[in-house]
Amino acid sequence: MSLNIVLFKLTLGLYAVTTGLYLFSAVANREGSDRWGRMALLVAFAMHTVTLVARYVEAGYTPVTNLHESLSFFAWALAGTFLVIDWRLRMSVLAATTSTLILVMMLFGSLLPMHVQELNPALDSLWLPVHISLAFLGNAVFTVAFVAAVFYLLQERMLKSKKFSALYYRLPSLETLDMINYRCLTFGFPLMTMGIISGAVWAESAWGTYWSWDPKEAWALITWFFYAALLHGRMTTGWRGRRAAIFAIIGFALLLFTFLGVNLLLPGLHSYTSMGS
């Protein structure tokens, strides 16, 4: 087994530990009980970074060319994004949920063919790391927005119905959850925009056309328009709270379909990132 795969499995184990610690902290609901989870996440993220570097060295190209690599990169971006947010806000329930999502991605990634493949010549470009990094960083930020939105809706329901479950006592305020949603939108949207533009520029240099309406491009554009509408609504007409949360959830569903659904269901120009050969 090559080094990067050993490291990948080690990272997977560390994410499992992180998730366990964060879940424990969320249930215990004690001041400061999340520090072990945060520490574990930091270690896991560092190990993941080493894993990606090792794979880069071994493969000789940025490892984002098949589904296994993409999932790993997505999980890495999500871990990094969440570390930045969690450092300031400290919320065990959100942390436990996010680390569970990371763990699921990594587990999914570990079930796919993991060996390093010959690079498809079409991808042999400097645009590969640029385009993919921007796209996945945007995805990661929107994933955090999605998690915050789900908990916003759950808590909003409890406050309206006046029936509080154990979760209620473990969640940050509605304002905080809404603020996370907004912040993520303001960071995620430019990343996504640049991801799409860099893809178009790359397409022009590789295929001679900026836009060829393959399924990935079409769905990315739909997702982009959706998030643009949400951003516009928030900034001009005071969309917030419940409506913004619902939009963030639908946006995430579109994003997930653009990432996974298109690859698995709709063949097109972006099909090299399918299940692997």
């Binding site: 309206k160 006592y169 305020s173 509605l174 304002e175 917030r240």
Partner: protein
């Protein structure tokens, strides 16, 4: 030496009884001295709050000590013994330790987790220390109780959520707005609960208060009190869009705030959330207001429901606290048991050694022909014999001390060999370490 408790509380005695046997704090010296003068009380602390009157004591003879404490309570307050006795509970050993730990950690309080009791017990201990009615055991015991209470407070969320209606309103506002600093509160009408809630909001950072009332003079007076601004009742709706939190308690028989007015205000304030608290009965605010996005409406029953849910949450936290207490009881018993192990071993050895010495003297007096060498050999033999005999019980006792079940062996040895020992009157060191 054992710890025991005699007392009564809100759980066993009505206030009519409790007030009769309360010890006024300004006059603690006489009762403490009288308790200490009782023949079977070595150390004592008197706890007297409006919810409980309890005597914590340490002594050799628990049964006699308990009777003396009961009679002392009745005599001191001139209450018939029979009347008092049926309200009193008595606990000793582990049960007494558990009780005091639970009381101090506020698990035995009327409202679980209320913060006053720890201070009250500390004060009671302070009086006892001042009048020198506590010694090695109760000093250590009470300090342990304080540290247990602190552990419970920091490691569980027992005092976490509001258990009064007005504080519950503040907590709900925090859940909605994050921080309530810089928010605007409007008081519609006046009422005691309304004003109390407003005070809580102001104490927690709300900086702008609007007051309206059918009688404008009343509004002006209240506004002055809260350094706020009075608003005419006839057009208070025009100010609604500035308001984050609205407290209403008018005597109106119809709804005075309807969904259309709230929707309009919400548009003006760009959908920023609003929190309505309707304390009036009959209600002031149309309940359909709660159906509007970003608006939260709570009436009196809703707030009471929140308080009940919070209390339930406290009871859940109390289960964790009980676990902490069980562990700490074990720790304390370990210390208690250790208190008597070494003196028991020493007493046993002295006893046997004394017997040996007596028998040697007798034997040597009868056998005068023995040479010095023979005497030495016999002496050495007798020493070796008692060492061999005493070795296993000493080992078992020391092991038992580590496993915290030494008490049974100590008791058995003391009875079997008729040992006379008292707790060491050592220096009171290591008391404040925990």
């Amino acid at each position: 030496m054992d710890i025991f408790v005699v007392g009564l509380s809100h759980k066993t005695a009505p206030v009519a009884v409790r007030e009769k046997v309360a010890f006024p704090p300004e006059n603690m010296q006489p009762p403490l001295q009288q308790v200490l003068a009782l023949p079977d009380i070595a150390e004592a602390v008197i706890v007297s709050t409006c919810n409980r009157v309890e005597l914590y004591a340490a002594g050799q003879n628990v049964e006699a000590g308990v009777q003396q404490l009961k009679h002392f309570m009745a005599d001191y307050h001139q209450v018939p013994f029979e009347t008092l006795d049926k309200h009193l509970y008595v606990m000793q050993g582990e049960e007494a330790i558990r009780h005091v730990f639970r009381v101090t950690a506020s698990l035995d309080s009327m409202v679980i987790g209320e913060p006053q009791i720890l201070g009250q017990i500390k004060t009671a201990y302070g009086y006892a220390a001042e009048h020198k009615s506590v010694g090695l055991i109760l000093n250590r015991f009470l300090h342990k109780a304080f540290s247990v209470a602190k552990r419970v407070r920091t490691e569980t969320n027992i005092a976490g959520n509001a258990v009064s209606v007005s504080f519950a309103a503040v907590e709900l506002a925090r859940k909605i707005f994050g921080s309530i600093e810089g928010k605007t509160v409007m008081l519609v009408g006046a009422g005691e609960m309304c004003e109390l809630a407003a005070k809580h909001f102001i104490n927690n950072g709300v900086d702008r208060v609007l007051v309206t009332n059918r009688t404008f003079a009343r509004a002006e007076k209240l506004a002055e009190e809260f350094s706020g601004q009075a608003v005419l009742f006839d057009n208070f709706h025009e100010h609604l869009h500035q308001v984050d939190i609205l407290l209403s308690s008018t005597g109106a028989t119809n709804f005075i705030i309807d969904p259309d007015q709230v929707s309009g205000a919400l548009r003006l304030r760009k959908q920023r959330p609003m929190f309505f608290i309707d304390i009036a009965v009959p209600r002031d605010i149309d309940p359909r207001v709660n159906d509007i996005n970003n608006v939260y409406l709570y009436d009196v029953d809703d707030l009471q429901g929140v308080v009940n849910a919070n209390l339930k949450e406290r009871h859940k936290e109390a289960e964790q606290a009980e676990e902490i207490i069980e562990y700490e009881i074990g720790q304390f018993q370990l210390w208690m048991a250790g208190l008597e192990v070494v003196p028991t071993i020493v007493a046993l050895r002295q006893q046997i050694d004394g017997l040996r010495q007596n028998e040697l003297d007798k034997t040597f007096a009868n056998l005068k022909h023995l040479s010095d060498k023979d005497r030495k050999a016999i002496t050495a033999m007798s020493s070796a014999l008692i060492n061999k005999i005493l070795h296993p019980p000493t080992r078992v006792l020391k092991q038992a001390q580590q496993d915290a079940n030494a008490q049974q062996y100590v008791d058995a040895l003391q009875t079997l060999f008729d040992l006379e020992i008292s707790a060491p009157q050592g220096k009171l060191k290591n008391l404040d370490n925990d």
